[in-house]
């Protein structure tokens, strides 16, 4: 067991015993791999794990516990998602206890049934510059070096996006796993007349992916939850990264870095020249 894991369990026990938090959201091991767990009793803290398979974002669950004080295990990107959601008035800072864990990158998921033993670091982790959550109540330092195994990078425009979109199954796993897709009525699914139908027309996959990319622009924290949940491995984060670059170039805005900077282009000063 690694020392961050020991520290994490000790902290969780302490927080629950002193009733600082009502529950801790973390990761636990299961036969099918690492999965989220919700710890309510100090006796259960031994379940908590921390390793490079803890890739899915837990931030998504925070909105389900609005009236409770919740402790959450957060990597750098998860912390950024919390910042961005606080700015969007979806979360209340005082109800969250952020257990920041220093992250060295996570592994790419292994496909079901694959016999690969060598694990690779996820591609979005290589671009990551924020390894520790920007807001935190407690920091757990890592004791390991960054993951080594790199993936050769290609240019984003070299990908044939239209044929990648064609593979999409419209399973909505990307929408369901993203911390920012909290709309009660998703414009891709629920509108009448619908812009995108669930089963009808393949050309609508183009609309589906472009609309989702537009909704993520300037908000996506590149946590990769969408991409890791995608059963057909569409590198969605690379597409959203391009749009975040547009925000960086035009407004100097990077989502989730601090609580003060308001998201552009919602703000401009009175009398400001266009």
């Amino acid at each position: 067991m690694s020392s961050p894991e020991i520290e994490l369990r000790k902290l969780a026990r302490n927080l629950l015993e002193r009733k600082v938090v009502d529950l801790v959201i973390g990761y636990e091991d299961s036969e099918a791999g690492v999965r989220p767990c919700f710890i309510k009793e100090p006796g259960e803290v031994e379940k908590l794990v921390w390793n490079p398979d803890c890739r899915l974002s837990l931030v998504r669950y925070l909105r389900g516990f609005k009236e409770k004080k919740v402790g959450i295990v957060a990597k750098g990107c998860d912390g950024r998602a919390i910042v961005e959601l606080i700015k969007e008035n979806q979360l209340d800072r005082k109800n969250i206890f952020i257990i920041a864990v220093e992250c060295n990158g996570v592994y790419k998921p292994v496909k079901y049934g694959s016999s690969k033993t060598r694990r690779q670091m996820a591609e979005y982790c290589e671009k990551c510059e924020v390894r520790v959550s920007p807001i935190k109540d407690y920091l757990i330092k890592s004791d390991e070096k960054a993951l080594e195994e790199k993936i050769p990078k290609g240019d984003v425009e070299d990908l044939d996006w239209l044929s990648l979109f064609r593979k999409c199954l419209r399973c909505m796993a990307c929408v369901r796993s993203c911390p920012f897709c909290y709309c009660t009525e998703c414009s891709i699914e629920g509108f009448k007349p619908a812009l995108v139908h669930r089963l009808v027309d393949p050309v609508e996959l183009f609309t589906f992916h472009l609309i989702r990319a537009i909704h993520m622009a300037g908000r996506c924290v590149e946590c990769g939850a969408c991409e890791s949940s995608c059963p057909v491995e569409i590198p969605l984060t690379r597409l959203y990264h391009e749009l975040n670059e547009w925000f960086r170039e035009n407004y100097g805005y990077v989502p989730g870095l601090n609580l003060e900077q308001a998201p552009p282009p919602l703000v401009f000063k009175e009398g400001e020249k266009p």
């Binding site: 239209l162 609309i211 537009i214 597409l239 401009f268």
Partner: protein, 141 residues
């Protein structure tokens, strides 16, 4: 075979719609393959609708709006401008020519400008050729 003509959808804001009408009464000629959809303000045009228009067979989408300097304190056209710029970046990334989405600044008295610019856009779109998203999405690898 009938020669291919591009289909262009123009979302025209209230003010620039009067410019478009003016092009009509003053007898300026512009190509008939531009279909105008009048909207209260250019900033009401959600980028999703622009994408949907391309999906449904438009070869280019045009938004006409008031020049940001003509508006007073807040400038909705600036939001439109930002959205169009973002959308063009997205289209370019996924491999669709960015010239297929454009913005034109048209005031209510600029019928002539509208007619000229639109003719130019039609010509340029003709040069780009059909977008044919349906064909490209259905194509088997």
């Amino acid at each position: 075979m009938v020669a291919w003509k591009p289909k262009i959808i123009a979302f025209t804001c209230w003010c620039s719609s009067s410019g478009v009408d003016q092009a009509g009464f003053e007898g300026f000629k512009y190509p008939a393959n531009v279909l105008t959809v009048r909207v209260p303000c250019s900033a009401i045009v959600n980028p999703s609708i622009v994408v949907k228009a391309l999906e449904e067979g438009a070869d280019a989408v045009l938004l006409t709006a008031c020049k940001p300097v003509e508006l007073r304190k807040i400038a909705p056209s600036r939001i439109t401008e930002a959205r169009v710029s973002l959308l063009r970046r997205l289209l370019k990334t996924v491999g669709v020519e960015e010239e297929r989405v454009r913005i034109l600044w048209i005031s209510s008295n600029e019928g002539g400008v509208f007619a000229n610019e639109v003719s130019r856009i039609v010509e340029e779109t003709e040069r780009l050729g059909p977008l044919n998203l349906r064909g490209r999405m259905l194509e088997q690898p």
